[in-house]
């Protein structure tokens, strides 16, 4: 095998992977090891591959991904906390030929924005919702989220989430799967190369549903780590996620083509 220099490696004809032009060059504000950056890239790759760069409007949430519009190189609106599905509803109703998505975290989508989430799903708005669930409020410094696991320690459940006083974690993805307005509901992760490939297929299916005018909303949850909020190193946090988050939030499709998957 002949020697290959770095100058040869970076030649375009030798590259097997390139960053999508729909991600800006701005350095991501996410912690190293976090799943947000990968998920951003997957959404933008899908929009590029579908050729919808000039026909897409995205809605960013409040939370860690509040600055998603800095990184996603399509027209973007920044919503108030929890309200992204309401913005997206109106955008899609007024521009039915365009591609509309929201990108939201668990605090945004499953706590303060529960009403908007449930009703956009139940009306069957033809939008895509990408939902990052890391079981914690990352941006505000690691407080308890609606999705925080029982017993899990956060800044506002310092002795662990006590279900009796703090309530149960909300499995909102299973919940929206039950609504007649959702067409595709799935739960993915982006912590291994194979998981990233599966998550990308799911995101692409969600957007393809919208392009094909399928009746209903496509909802993709990505269970992610939050190594900073969980106070772990990135690799450790991924192991913890597999051992603790996945049993409670099992990976896989919940509803496909408008039909619930038998478990």
């Amino acid at each position: 095998m002949s020697e290959i220099s770095i100058q040869d490696i970076i030649k375009p004809e030798n590259q097997v992977y390139a960053k999508t032009k729909l991600m800006t060059d701005k350095a991501l504000s996410y912690c190293p090891g976090c799943g947000h950056g990968t998920t951003h890239r997957l959404v933008m790759e899908v929009i590029e591959e579908l050729g919808k760069e000039n026909e897409t409007i995205g809605v960013a949430p409040v939370g860690c991904s509040v600055l998603a519009y800095e990184f996603m190189n399509v027209d973007m609106q920044e919503a108030a906390h929890g309200r992204a599905p309401a913005l997206a509803t109106a955008i899609k109703r007024l521009w039915p030929e365009k591609v509309v998505f929201t990108y939201q975290g668990d605090g945004d989508l499953a706590a303060i924005g529960t009403g908007e989430t449930i009703h956009a799903c139940n009306r069957g708005e033809q939008i895509v919702i990408v939902f990052i669930n890391n079981g914690i409020y990352g941006m505000t410094g690691g407080q308890m989220a609606p999705t925080t696991l029982p017993g899990m320690k956060t800044a506002t459940s310092p002795y662990g989430r006590e279900v009796k006083t703090m309530g149960n974690p909300l499995k909102i993805t299973e919940l929206v799967g039950q609504l007649p307005g959702t067409y595709y509901v799935t739960r993915q992760s982006v912590h291994t190369p194979s998981a990233v490939r599966k998550a990308k297929r799911a995101i692409k299916k969600a957007f393809q549903n919208q392009l094909d005018g399928k009746p209903g909303l496509s909802f993709v949850e990505v269970v992610s780590n939050c190594n900073s909020g969980w106070k772990m190193e990135p690799v450790q946090s991924n192991i913890w996620m597999e051992e603790n988050m996945f049993p409670f939030y099992p990976i896989g499709d919940i509803k496909v083509d408008g039909k619930l998957i038998e478990k």
Partner: protein, 361 residues
């Protein structure tokens, strides 16, 4: 002459929305303004003009639908009444910050809290001083008739897009519910996509080929940049104050005393003026049509002309009177009169207040 109809104020708002070329109405029912969405749903504006009408799950969702839709350059509108308008304040603050146009009509009822469903003018502070968090103002138009409920809709859309801001139409349960003759303006076309893209390069409706993406946000984590953005907003508000003040002077030429009243109170006060003049009391009315920007200059001119006193008549415990006092600046007497909590004052009560608080006081 346009088409004449006998309509409720709320129905006039709805019909005017369709005729003004509104692209989307997003609302939530609340008394005393539910006729707006009822009329729109019955009228099927989608078939008439292509206008979208959607009943939202809450006022919070409705105002955020306006954010989304207005942010794409479409003409969007909602209507509500006081408690619902309170719920919309978050959204209005965000839209003021992100500079998104929309029209919001408030058919005011008695408060605070759930209050009642009778007419009131007690949302003046909320309307003209900002309402939500942060340094912002919204243009506020105050119709005094069913005719103006119709006429002010296209005017509000023009202001909203001229200045990239939400615009409020503030009436009350009396104007919303009463029926009057209305001359409707002719159907205006909805804007085409080409027109939107040409006029509103900020509109986020899909990145134009070969151009930069557009972002609508009210967030800037750099305080110096945010201060600069606030300077820009304040410049805009000064321009609105300089160019958009609207008011009406009624019987003011020879008046010794002036009643300042808007909306329903201005109608009631016209009868009070008639009664006063029958007794030889020379009184006129200054009717603010824009509550913000407030007509400070005509008040100043009346003070300089030697008017002996101003009575601010409002169906509130005394809100607009503070702006009248600021304009008069202690140069002559200013008092407030008004019934509130949903009670409507009579012309006789207004005349009595003029006599005791201004003339004899």
């Amino acid at each position: 002459m346009g088409e004449l109809r006998l309509m409720k104020g709320n129905e006039a708002l709805a019909e005017a929305a369709i005729r003004a070329g509104c692209d989307g109405y997003f609302g939530y029912p609340i008394t005393p303004q539910s006729e707006v969405i009822e009329y729109l749903m019955a009228e099927k504006p989608f078939e008439r003009t292509g206008m979208v009408v959607l009943q939202a799950e809450s006022e919070v969702a409705a105002i955020n639908m306006l954010y989304g839709g207005g942010g794409t350059g479409k003409k969007v509108m909602t209507t509500s009444s006081s408690p619902g308008i309170s719920l919309m304040q978050e959204g209005l603050s965000y839209m003021a910050g992100a500079e998104i146009p929309c029209v919001v009509a408030n058919v005011v009822r008695g408060g605070p809290g759930l209050g009642d469903i009778q007419p009131a003018q007690s949302d003046y502070f909320q309307s003209v001083k900002g309402g939500g968090h942060g340094d912002y103002r919204l243009p506020v138009l105050a119709p005094a008739s069913v005719q103006e409920m119709s006429d002010f809709v296209p005017i509000s859309f023009d202001l909203a897009f001229k200045y990239r801001t939400p615009v409020l139409i503030v009436s009350d349960g009396l104007i919303g519910q009463m029926m009057e003759k209305v001359e409707l303006f002719d159907q205006m076309p909805r804007m085409s996509t080409e027109e939107i893209n040409e006029k509103y390069p900020w509109a986020t409706n899909g990145k134009p080929v070969g151009q930069e993406r557009r972002i609508l946000t009210s967030l800037d984590l750099d305080p110096h940049k945010l201060e600069k953005h606030n300077h820009h907003l304040q410049d805009k508000y000064r321009n609105i104050e300089a160019d958009e003040v609207k008011y009406e002077l009624i019987n003011c030429d020879d008046a010794d005393y002036i009643i300042i009243a808007y909306g329903s109170s201005s109608r009631i006060s016209q009868k009070a003026v008639q009664l006063a003049r029958e007794e030889g009391i020379k009184v006129g009315i200054l009717r603010p049509i824009t509550l913000w920007p407030f007509p400070k200059k005509p008040i100043d001119e009346l003070v300089k002309r030697g008017v002996k006193g101003f009575l601010s008549v409002e169906m509130s415990a005394g809100q607009m009177v503070e702006d009248v006092r600021l304009a008069v600046y202690e140069r002559t007497k200013v008092e407030h009169f008004g019934r509130y909590g949903g009670v409507i004052h009579s012309p006789e009560e207004v005349l009595e207040a003029l006599k005791t608080k201004i003339i004899g006081g």
